[in-house]
């Protein structure tokens, strides 16, 4: 094909026109998008929080039970890798001195020795994991939930270094063969190479359901609600009990409270 200045100008003119028309196309496409209606049953909140009443948790057995862990891990297709090195966990048990390091003295540890404490993501008010993520794959929603986009995460694990609560797990290997319970088709499984953690059951809240750990606890040890709502269960519990949070000195503003 012969090319000269004239044909070059023609082609570049058409290209410029096309590029110039892009915003118009975008605007039109935007207008044509369907408006999604929220589920009318959706549980809406401004600042979700959890209060864990450890005394209720230990009511049935000194060792605590695994109902909440099982419910959560089954619901979210959490794999059971079987090693400490690569363990994936969303909610799990730790001893007092591991849950609250630096807040121990030899006598209080003696009183609550060997008793389990429930650990999960604190959905911090100032989450360091969100601050350090280079792709916004982990982000904070308007209702306070700290979420993960498993399809955007590049697996740099900066969030794991940033989290002072050890709440984040990395999929060192393909987790799918290690999902030992029945697969829940309503929740995505993860791929090798991404980070995951508790999401306060955002997908259940959208359908008007309580988080699966809260729902599964027969003793009612886990309370979930909106901190901004003075009439919520969590606010009532916080008003009537002495509660502590994990590592308050770090300024992260954890939103999981403990009654001990």
């Amino acid at each position: 094909m012969e090319s000269n200045r004239r044909s070059f100008l023609k082609v570049s003119g058409i290209c410029a026109l096309g590029l110039g028309a892009l915003p118009v196309a975008d605007a039109l496409a935007k207008a044509a998008l369907p408006n999604f209606l929220a589920n009318p049953k959706e549980l809406a909140g401004k600042k979700w929080a959890m209060v864990v009443d450890m005394k209720k948790c230990w009511e049935k057995s000194e060792k605590g039970c695994h109902d909440c862990i099982n419910a959560c891990h089954v619901f979210h297709n959490v794999p059971d890798i079987g090693t400490v090195k690569e363990e994936v966990k969303w909610i799990w048990q730790e001893h007092y001195e591991n849950t609250f390091p630096g807040q121990t003295n030899e006598f209080n540890v003696e009183n609550i020795k060997d008793k389990p404490f429930m650990n999960l993501c604190n959905h911090c008010t100032n989450p360091p994991c969100v601050r350090v993520c280079p792709t916004k794959a982990t982000f904070k929603r308007a209702d306070g939930i700290v979420m993960m986009d498993y399809h955007r995460c590049i697996g740099c694990r900066f969030c794991m270094a940033g989290c002072p609560y050890g709440s984040r797990s990395f999929n060192f290997r393909d987790p799918r063969p290690y999902i030992k319970t029945e697969l829940n088709p309503t929740f995505p499984t993860r791929e090798r190479g991404v980070v995951e953690k508790c999401n306060f059951c955002a997908e259940r809240l959208a359908e008007g359901l309580m988080p699966s750990c809260v729902e599964s606890c027969k003793n009612g040890a886990l309370a979930f609600g909106d901190l901004e709502d003075p009439k919520s269960t969590v606010r009532k519990l916080l008003a009537s009990h002495y509660t502590i949070v994990r590592k308050p000195e770090l300024g992260t503003g954890p939103n999981v409270y403990y009654i001990i």
Partner: protein
């Protein structure tokens, strides 16, 4: 100019082949890691960064080789550095290449690397580290190449290079500072949460980069007709002496704050590194090797007699380089994760595939360095 890298002695080709063997082995190990995941490494949910990120951190420091010759030459008119600025710049190029490769091999999802550009996130220090490292790579390759080409043609380098040279000086400070900020801003990682982290990075960089540069200058002198010059090496060795003393001083400051304040969480990582914590002490021998090498280096560098003697200076530089490697490329990153957020000690040791990949990355860096140095030295020989 690049064609000069294609013709060389048999020894040159043998060296390239030797490096390529390690590059190939590293690449094979990386394919293995890519298909199995980071489970093939020694990293865990507790020590979630290991050998790769530690090497990345150390080699950011080595890249300081450029600024330590460029700054005195262009700002203080230290003429003896004129002959070797190119060696410093090309060493920086190779080091930053190593850094970027170590980041890539550490990613769980390397195919999503471009997400960092697609979703730019200024609140993440990693975003800024990507900018400063790539910028520094670009500056040094453009400056080095153009100045060398001008030298070959016997003309002054183009005027637009000058602003880039001046930019490269504060830019060099930024790569160490921003890399230190990756660590120094994380709540709950007490070993890293120190205001002098960036200062420590700068000091150790100004020791490790120029010490390697001195060793490379000796190698260049031995195997080519280009002599970097005794005065340049003398000046560099003085820089290494000061930087090494300041580095050790800074490490000492960490000890004072942790142990005089007596705050357990501040002492733990240092205890783990130097005496062991709760019966775990895999890194203890390495950290004492750091101490011994650092003392040996200082002893050899402080004495003018041993500093000015070629043989002892070489030993001193090896001591500086490896002591800083142990401190930054091994202890610093791993100890930040120990104890874990639950106050438990979970140790880390790199796996064989992990080390093979690391060898591959080092070899790739050395390959880049060899090719660039071959070009530079060939031009220098022609001009001489």
């Amino acid at each position: 100019m690049l064609e000069r890298a294609l013709t060389g002695s048999q020894r040159y080709y043998r060296w390239l082949m030797f490096l390529l063997v390690f590059v190939g082995m590293g690449f094979a190990a990386y394919l293995y890691q890519l298909s199995n995941g980071l489970t093939v490494t020694g990293m865990s949910r507790d020590v979630s960064w290991g050998f790769y990120i530690a090497q990345f951190t150390f080699f950011v420091g080595v890249a300081a080789s450029a600024v330590m010759v460029v700054l005195p030459y262009y700002l203080h008119n230290v003429k003896v550095f004129g002959r070797i600025t190119i060696l410093g710049e090309f060493l920086a190029v190779a080091s930053v290449t190593i850094c970027l490769l170590f980041i890539i091999v550490d990613l769980g999802k390397p195919m999503r690397l471009m997400n960092v550009l697609l979703y730019p996130t200024p609140n993440s220090i990693l975003f800024w580290d990507m900018i400063v490292l790539n910028g520094y790579l670009f500056l040094n390759i453009v400056i080095g190449w153009n100045v060398l080409e001008a030298e070959r043609k016997g003309v002054h380098y183009p005027s637009w290079v000058k602003p880039l040279i001046y930019t490269s000086i504060p830019w060099a400070v930024s790569i160490h500072t921003v890399t230190a900020f990756l660590y120094a801003g994380l709540p709950g990682r007490h070993y890293w949460l120190t205001a002098i982290m960036a200062a420590r990075f700068l000091a150790s960089a100004f020791a490790s980069g120029p010490s390697l540069l001195i060793l490379l200058a000796f190698i260049v002198k031995k195997y080519s007709k280009f002599d970097p010059g005794k005065e340049a090496i003398d000046k560099l060795s003085q820089i290494v002496t000061y930087a090494m003393l300041i580095s050790i001083f800074f490490v000492g400051l960490e000890f004072f704050t942790a142990f005089y304040s007596n705050i357990p969480s501040h002492k733990h990582a240092l205890q783990y590194l130097f005496v062991g914590l709760e019966g775990h002490g895999k890194l203890v021998p390495f950290m004492w090797a750091f101490v011994i090498l650092a003392i040996a280096a200082v002893a050899l560098l402080l004495n003018p007699k041993t500093r000015n003697d070629e043989k002892t200076l070489k030993i001193a530089c090896v001591c500086v380089f490896f002591s800083m490697w142990l401190e930054k490329g091994l202890g610093l990153v791993v100890a930040g994760f120990i104890p874990n957020p639950f106050d438990q000690v979970r140790e880390y040791a790199p796996s064989i595939p992990e080390l093979t990949i690391a060898f591959g990355v080092w070899a790739t860096g050395m390959l880049v360095l060899t090719i660039l140095y071959k070009v530079a030295v060939s031009v220098k020989e022609e001009v001489a």
